[in-house]
Amino acid sequence: MSETPELTPEQHALPLGFVRGEPVLERPEDLYIPPDALELILEAFSGPMDLLLYLIRRHKVEIVDLPILPITQQYMTYVDMMKELKLELAADYLVMAAMLTEIKSRLLLPKPPQVEDEEIDPRAELVRRLREYEAIREGAGHLEAQPQQERDFCVVQANSDAREYVKQLPPEVSLEDLVLAFGKVMQQAQLQEHHHIHRERLSTRARMSAILDLLTQQSRVRFSDVFDTSEGKAGVVVSFLAILELSKEALIEITQVDAFSELHISKRQDQQNMVTEHA
């Protein structure tokens, strides 16, 4: 373990961890450090790629020139310690260890003489992954440096009395909704009564409502008052039909005191007033 080459560790701005309140700014040169402190340091690596990248940087070489032999050796030293400490992460680190060992052994094997120059460097795949990982670490750094809500700024709001102006809006209905609803109800009813509903009847029905409404305000109305001559002949006919219909439905009474005197209409008032509701 003491074979670890003496190399200047990289300076890190942030402490790797805290040991008894003291920040640990550098990764250990000497691997013989108290296990509890080591645990903190090892946990500072976010994974085997992070550890590997750290080891390569300590060698001050480019990723492409990955010095597989010393790196594998140093990596194994860390992993052995992690195993001793029974760190949870060890499994992921072991996968990497196996990969490193495999690359190392392939590099050490004598090359078969007939192999052409284009033979793929066994390190290529690892180099590619390391580069991608390095790019992502850079991305993580950018995110960390980006202004963050809560940490660097907060979204502000002004008080507003405008909420008091919020109205409870009544539901909206379109004419189409109404027609559809009517169509549906009529379909359900399987009517034999189509003749009640077409538009010509409607105007008579509307006039019936109007006359009844008038009779709610005045108990007796002169027959002639129901007719508005400004409506023309056709209007008079509608009113007349409405009166006949109301009379037929026994909703109004038409009375005449003497022959040839004014006709009056009133709501029908008869003994049925007395009939109780459950009748």
């Binding site: 359900q188 189509h194 509903i197 006039r207 019936m208 409502s209």
Partner: protein, 194 residues
């Protein structure tokens, strides 16, 4: 800390805080900068001045200072929280349609046609909305109330009278309509239901 910085901090703090901030609270926030209360007061006045004609204003309330939106803008800003109007039930729409097209009509008639009982809540809603009213009683046992639509109903649907409501399609009887009846249809446009 120079004046502009101090103003920025106080301004940001007032906007960021959930509650109004008092001069004492601001002084505490600026403890490290050792700013006097008088200085804070001057800065608050300067800020009030700055926001005089803006959409938000610095207001002094019982518990301190806070930014709030200009009162005159209330009705426009209410739109920020305005929820979509709810929807009426199919039962209500069918009841309303029956009253519109078959008025004057009793609750019993509606129930007979729809085959289900009409809830009092629906009749209450329609009357509260001002779309439906009682225009009389049918002189039969029980004297049931007769319902009709109102002028507000016509106004809401932007039609002059009931005859302007879309006709219900496909009635064979339409062909049987007499000359008289089609004449009445014309006049019907003048009439208002009260």
């Amino acid at each position: 800390m120079h004046d502009q910085q101090l103003k920025q901090v106080i301004e940001a703090a007032l906007f960021a805080a959930d509650e109004p901030l008092s001069v004492d609270q601001l002084k505490e926030l600026l403890a490290a900068q050792q700013v006097s209360k008088a200085k804070i007061q001057t800065t608050l006045s300067a800020l009030q001045q700055d926001y005089q004609n803006r959409g938000v204003q610095l207001q002094q309330v019982a518990s301190g200072y806070r930014f709030q939106t200009r009162t005159e803008l209330g009705s426009i800003l209410a739109g920020l929280w305005q929820e979509k109007p709810p929807k009426y039930s199919q039962a209500l729409l069918e009841t309303l349609a029956l009253i519109a097209y078959r008025q004057p009509i009793t609750r019993g008639d509606i129930e007979e046609i729809r085959g289900v009982s009409v809830s009092s809540q629906i009749m209450k809603t329609l009357q509260e909305r001002g779309w439906v009213k009682v225009v009389g009683q049918r002189e039969v046992p029980g004297r049931p109330q007769l319902y009709a639509t109102t002028a507000e109903f016509l106004d809401y649907f932007n039609v002059k009278d009931l005859a302007e409501l879309p006709p219900i399609p496909s009635s064979e009887n339409a062909q049987q309509a007499t000359a008289t009846e089609s004449t009445t249809a014309e006049t019907a446009t003048d009439q208002r239901v009260h």
